[in-house]
Each structure stands twice: as C-alpha cells, then as structure tokens.
Amino acid sequence: MSFPKVRVPYLLLLPGFAFLFTFFILPIINLAQTSTQTPVAGGDTGEYEQTLAFGNYIQAFVENKEQFGRSFLYASLATIFALAIAYPLAYAIAFKSGKFKNILLVLVVAPFFTSFLLRTIAWKQILGEEGFVVPGLRSLNIIGEQTTLTSTSIAVVAGMTYNFLPFMTLPLYASLERIDPRTIEAAGDLYANGITAFRRVTVPLSLPGVVAGTLLTFIPAAGDYVNAAILGSPNTKMIGNVIESRYFKIVDYPTAAALSFTLMAAILILVTLYIRKAGTEELV
C-alpha cells in the first residue's frame, strides 16, 4: 500500500508545521492579544484586561524610539564590521587554506562550544580595567587615564560583531567555496587583472553568501540584549533590554508585547526591502 503521491509533500510538512504552530503561531497570537491590554482598574501588579488599546503601540514606540534607533544602528554597524572581518576570512579558508581547511572551519565554529553568555562575560574582562587592552592603549597614549572601554557603545558593538561573526563567515564560506575556480581563470584569460576578476567574478558569485550572512547577523543583532546588558551602560540600552525590563521588572506585559511586535514589523520591513533589492534568487 502506498500514499497517493500528492499527499507526500503535505505529510513531510506536518512535523515542521505542528512545531511552528505550537511554538510560534500560538505564542504570536497570545502576544498580539496581550499587546492591546490595559491594567485592570484596582487590580494588582501584572493584572491586565483586553480593551483593544491600540494606542499602546504608539506610546511604546514614542517612549522608546531612542532605543529602537540604537538597536538598528548597532545591528547595522555589527553587520558591517562582521562582513569586513568575515569576507577575507571566508575567502582565505575557501581558496587559500589547502589542507588546513577543515581545521580552520572547526575553529570558526569552535566558539559555539562555550555558552554565548560566558563569551560575552569574557569580553567584559578583556575590555575591563585590568584586562590587557585598556592598559595597553593607555601606555600608547591612545586613550586617557579616565577613558574606559566597558560600558561604552564601542564595547557593545564589538561584542555583537564577535558573537555573530560565525553566522556571517559560514554562509560566505559556503558560497565562495562553490565558485568554480575556472571562472576566475577564464577572467584572467580575458585579460582581467586580479582585482578586476575579484570585483567582476568572485564578488557577484559570492553575493548569496553575503545576503544570507548579513541577514543571519542583522536580524538577531537587532533584537539582541545580552551584549548591551553585559558590556553596555544605561546610555547604550537596546530595544531588547527595554522589552526585558518591561516584561520582568515593570511587569508591563502589554507594552513589552507591543514593543516586540513593533520590532518584528520593523525587521520584517527592512529585510523585505533588502531582499527585494538583492533578489531572492541570491538567497540560494
């Protein structure tokens, strides 16, 4: 006995759909409901009722536009820096590493063997007063006695760049590695010098990796709050920190939910524009 052919794809979709329905769709619906609630009159902390208060969204955005702006600025900077670091790295691994290729790839992934939190805390120590960076820069007179690196936006962006670097490197490597070396040779045969061949052949062929890598970096970075919490100061708080504080500290679930939705919408719009510009075919 066999299933009619047409049903097989649906059956294959079933586990994924069931999973996403339970752990994505349902929570999203719940979040949407929460986002328009207001406190029960005379109720206790954390008691809210549905009043379809869509004004929550406007208020949440207006009160926190600074943190929204900062989130997208930091995420963009981290994405740009990660690309600048990861491209040469992926290029070297794909084309120049010879027998070390596998070892280098393992090294790129190696940070995942330790917790994200621990790695960020380690950065705090590296950039701290008693790390080697600050005393080093001081002895070279690059920074003054009073200047510190932790609790600054530099530390936050640096931490984010570091934490998301593998997400940028791996897709870049995957698309660079697939480039047929003969296309580059062919460019040479057509009198392109190294730079021209790189610009006209390698870069366009690696664009799917660039698009995938930037998305995999930018999206989580925009919602990240761990780096800002550990490496930042009150002046570098991102929207993720606000959502966390609204949810857990103020016990203001509606505002937290409204902020989450606004963040999702903002990311969705930016990503849609980006993919339209880059073309979806670049994604694969």
Binding site: D44, T45, G128, T148, N235, K237, R246, Y247, K249, D252
Partner: protein, 391 residues
C-alpha cells in the same frame, strides 16, 4: 544556575575560605547575565512526595561543603527528621522568578517548590494575591526566635506566613585607595575621583532608598513626588556620566576589576570583598541612614499539605539559633535569629562581633525599611526607575 559555582576558579577560591552568595556570583561573572536567561528555563521539581520538601533559594545562600558537595545543615535536617530536602538555587531575581511562576500560581498548579525565598516587597505581593499559605505555628515553635526588629513588618504584622531568611543592609561601598576618607554622604559618593566609576544597584528600594535618605526623606513614608525627584537625581547622574551602571550582584566584580571605585551596595558582598582583598574595600551605612530588607521563607499556595508541613519543619529547624549561626557564618548577611550570636561565639568568635551579621542596636537604629507600595505605585515607580536607567 547552581552549576555556576563550578565554572569560576575565582569562585572556587573564595569558597575555600569564606563565602557569600552575592560575592561568589559576582566572581562567577554576574548573576544579572545568568538571570537574563534563567527566566526562560523551568525550575523546581515536578513531584511532590510525602517525605520531601522542595526549596527554591537564591544561589550561594546556604552553607555548602565544597568537598562533599553537600549543604551540611540541610543534610543534618534530613538525618534528624527523615524528610528529604531538595534544594534548588534558582531564585536569581525577584521579578524574574515571579514572571516564571505567576501563571501557575494563578491557575493553582504546582510551581515545583514547597518553600521559596522572595524579598520583602515581593513577599508582600504574594500575600496580597493570596499566593501564600499561613503557617501552622505548631510546626514552628522556634518562630519566637525572630529578632524583635523584624517581628512585625507591614505586609505580615504577625509573621503568619513569612519568616526572614537573611537580612540585607544597603549602603555605600568603596575602593579605599581612591576614597581614603571613606564615603558617608551622597557628596562623598559623587566626588570627582569617582566620576564615571560609580555603580548603583538594580534593586530600586536600595538605590533610591539610599538617595532619598541622603536627601533627608523618610523612606518609611516617602511620597511619589519625593520618589520621582530622587529618580530624576539618579537619571541626571547617569546622563552626566557619573554613574557607570545600574547592576545586580555584578557590581562586586566591577569593584575588583577597577571598573568601579564607589557603589551603592549590599553589606554581605562588601564584607567578603573587604576580607578577600585585605582592606582594599570598605562599606558603611550612610550618615543619613541605610536600607534594610529581608528575604523571606514562604510556602506557596500551590504546595501540598505534606509539602507544607515538611516546609514548616524545615523553617523551624533553621530558626534554631545553633543552626542559624552555622548558616550566618557562611553567608555573612544579617542573621534574623535571636540567640544565634551566642552560638556564633562557639563556632567563629571573630564573626560574633561582626556588625555585618549582628548589627548593634546603634547600627540597627540607622537602618530603614522602604515602605510598602500599592500595586499602582509598584508599576509606576518601577517604570520611572527603569526608564532612568535607559530601559
């Protein structure tokens, strides 16, 4: 979260000598960070059995023997009573723990603990919402041992469903080299040498409490205007670059790394920092007064009858002065049990005179309890405090 201890050699070295939960956590890299994620995880234990008690407490808040990896007083309790104590160090933050269990409390489903340890104001919220059970006092004869000063808090005047686990003093901590004259007033704290290197606590009632007291406000009667005024003061100090961060336990780490030179901090941490770093750090209750708060042993409304009775027996056990002294010798916070000081003489005489653990009458008179807030105030004030720190 209990595993944190095994991660840090710094923590391990402290454990070898003397320990406080907050200090060790700071060494392990900041409970705040861990707490961020802890909120997502579950906790406690699913099963409630006849002869067990499940206790959720703050990390490193109970005497621990590094060699046998056991909690000596808890082991003795089990031997004496035959009750198996399951101990969970997963109460990292009042708000986060509440966020984790509140849905189950509301539905009356087992939260996985028979005893939990919230701070005063959070205990008050649990009582208000009916999420606690009143003690059966027959099971807790030692209840009479609570210090007079702690015997009748506004949220539970007769201590019917709460007993203090440990008391926590809030005041100024500082690096002695950078502040040779010490810090006694807000002006001392915001002195030029500390600019950009001041850290204050995320615990609103301690940070704003100390600021309010410095402004001459009685925190047992503070009004909204006075509170907002103090929050603005803090916000200004943040935007002007005086305050570097608003943090939980991690401030102790900032002091040791030199990133902070002066803090509004907690007594127990500063006790450890001072003794571990041979006079490099000091702590004082501000001239204008400091704050005192307590973490409380409460029995959730969801605990079974057996869990409740076993919990009460355990609470009674910890209110025995000899046991309380053993715990206090390890955690270094204010011991709430009468007679523990005399017991401490026998096991660690040098700690029996410690103002950190057994504050004298004179010291106690300078400590103030932040008044209880209404639900409306709780939300509104917390919001102002969070916004002042960039959230």
């Amino acid at each position: 979260m209990a595993k944190e201890r095994s991660l840090s050699p710094e923590a391990r070295s402290i454990l070898g000598t003397q320990v406080s939960r907050r200090a060790v956590l700071a060494g392990a890299g900041g409970v705040g960070a861990a707490g961020l994620l802890a909120a997502c995880g579950g906790g406690g234990d699913g099963a409630s059995a006849e002869n067990t008690v499940r206790w959720g407490n703050w990390p490193l808040y109970l005497d621990f023997d590094e060699e046998s990896k056991t909690y000596p007083t808890l082991v003795k309790f089990s031997e004496q009573t035959g009750i198996e104590a399951k101990y969970f160090e997963d109460y990292n933050d009042n708000d986060e723990f509440y966020g984790k269990v509140q849905a189950q409390l509301k539905l009356g489903e087992d939260i996985g603990y028979d005893v939990v340890t919230p701070t005063d104001w959070m205990a008050a919220r649990w009582i208000r919402l009916g999420y606690t059970q009143k003690y059966d006092t027959a099971n807790i004869p030692n209840k009479v041992n609570i210090l007079d000063s702690l015997a009748s808090p506004s949220y539970d005047p007769n201590r019917e469903s709460t007993l203090t686990w440990q008391g926590i003093m809030g005041g100024f901590g500082w690096n002695v080299q950078k502040n040779p004259k010490g810090i006694r007033t807000l002006d001392d704290l915001f002195a030029p040498q500390n600019k950009g290197k001041i850290v204050v606590l995320t615990e609103m009632r301690d940070t704003i409490g100390v600021i309010l007291l410095g402004q001459g406000v009685d925190i047992t009667k503070v009004t909204e205007d006075e509170f907002m005024n103090a929050v603005d003061f803090m916000a200004k100090k943040i935007s002007d670059g005086w305050i570097r961060g608003v943090k939980g336990n991690e401030y102790a780490e900032d002091l040791t790394s030199g990133d902070a030179t002066a803090v509004i901090g907690w007594s127990g941490d500063m006790f450890i920092l001072a003794s571990e770093n041979e006079g490099k750090f000091d702590f004082a209750i501000p001239e204008s007064g400091g704050t005192i708060s307590g973490d409380n042993l409460i029995i959730p409304s969801t605990a079974s009858a057996a869990g409740k009775a076993n919990g009460e027996k355990m609470i009674n056990y910890y209110y025995d002065p000899a046991v309380a002294a053993e715990v206090a010798a390890y955690v270094n916070y204010v011991c709430p049990v009468k007679g523990a000081q005399a017991e401490m003489e026998k096991i660690a005489p040098e700690l029996a005179t410690s103002e950190y653990i057994f504050p004298t009458e004179k010291t106690s008179s300078r400590l103030n309890v932040f008044r209880s807030l209404t639900p409306d105030e709780e939300t509104k004030w917390a919001e102002a405090f969070q916004q002042a720190q960039g959230n």
